[in-house]
Assembly symmetry: C2
Homo-oligomer: 158 residues x 2
DNA sequence: GCTTGACCTGGAGTGCACTCCAGCCCGTAA
DNA sequence: TTACGGGCTGGAGTGCACTCCAGGTCAAGC
């Protein structure tokens, strides 16, 4: 399989494949007589997994580190497992956050729909209903640490 | 509230706040006699919502567009709702994808743990068990479109 | 009055993750 | 044999999203 075929099958561009090779994310393939890259079909599994790590927010540094460990073979199993466990936890957190936001969005869409219909909005949502320059709600918000991801329950800024 | 306080409360740096203002993500605040920015507490709700959009993958372009619509007041309600609905669907898709990956990671961690224990791996997982340069599995993979996000079921590249 | 710390502006610099390009080579089909 | 498509390399360019900095102003406390 040549680079163009791999590009088709993996969904990455040939440029990206060469770039990944350059930085060490994917192993250097064999070359044919003409100096062109020849790929083994197994590379697809690896690329797909990399893609999955990327799509779930693992940065290139960590992907690189993982790729590096992978080349070390079974001696790096524990380290790789540890990386995956860490990432797994991050993914689980992201799912929580996304789910939370899904609800916020649904609520907001709902609110907008009612406002579009000219409906009077429930007083409980008054601060949401005022659109652009709502009066400050009488409620103090404590500073929260961005690192921990701990933050007060979302409210609708309308 | 001055910019430093807002930075503390929002979790953004003063630089980022000024940057957001420059590009139009947050409205220009009033200034005090000394020319310093003075923020209304309501800005926090807006920043928090922006942060939520960002954390769920909405790019700066769209956040900008949304911010722009917001300044137009209630006449832009339908457009804003439409944007949120679109984003909502994207978030829902992401949740599916993340959940899928969570399982893949769990499986992989499990596999590694068993491999570390020197356990013989179930023949059904043989292609996973071969670590670095597994023989190609006898199974053709069709090229898939990256745009649609449609992709064949993940398998473990081990 | 002086120091200190927060704030101001404009602009340069950073890191990520590609993406594009010029100028070249190679193999095959017409 | 020549045209063409695909591939090669090294390096420049892009877009996002900040982040940092120099060189200045301003207000409050000692």
């Amino acid at each position: 399989m040549r680079i163009g075929d791999l590009a088709d099958k993996s969904g990455l561009s040939t440029d990206t494949l060469r770039y990944y090779e350059k930085i060490g994310l994917i192993p250097r393939p064999l070359r044919d007589a003409g100096g062109r890259r020849v790929y083994d079909r197994t590379i697809l599994r690896w690329i797909e997994f990399l893609d999955r790590l990327k799509a779930t927010g693992m940065g290139i540094r960590d992907r690189l580190r993982y790729a590096e460990l992978r080349t070390l073979g079974s001696s790096s199993l524990a380290d790789r497992r540890s990386m995956l466990e860490t990432h797994r936890d991050k993914v689980a957190e992201d799912i929580v956050r996304l789910t939370e936001t899904l609800h916020v969005l649904d609520d907001k869409v709902d609110l907008y729909r009612r406002m579009e219909a000219g409906e009077t909005v429930d007083p409980a949502f008054e601060s949401c209903a005022r659109t652009e320059h709502a009066a400050p709600p009488n409620r103090e918000k404590s500073p929260h640490d961005r690192r921990t991801g701990a933050r007060p329950r979302a409210d609708n800024e309308a």
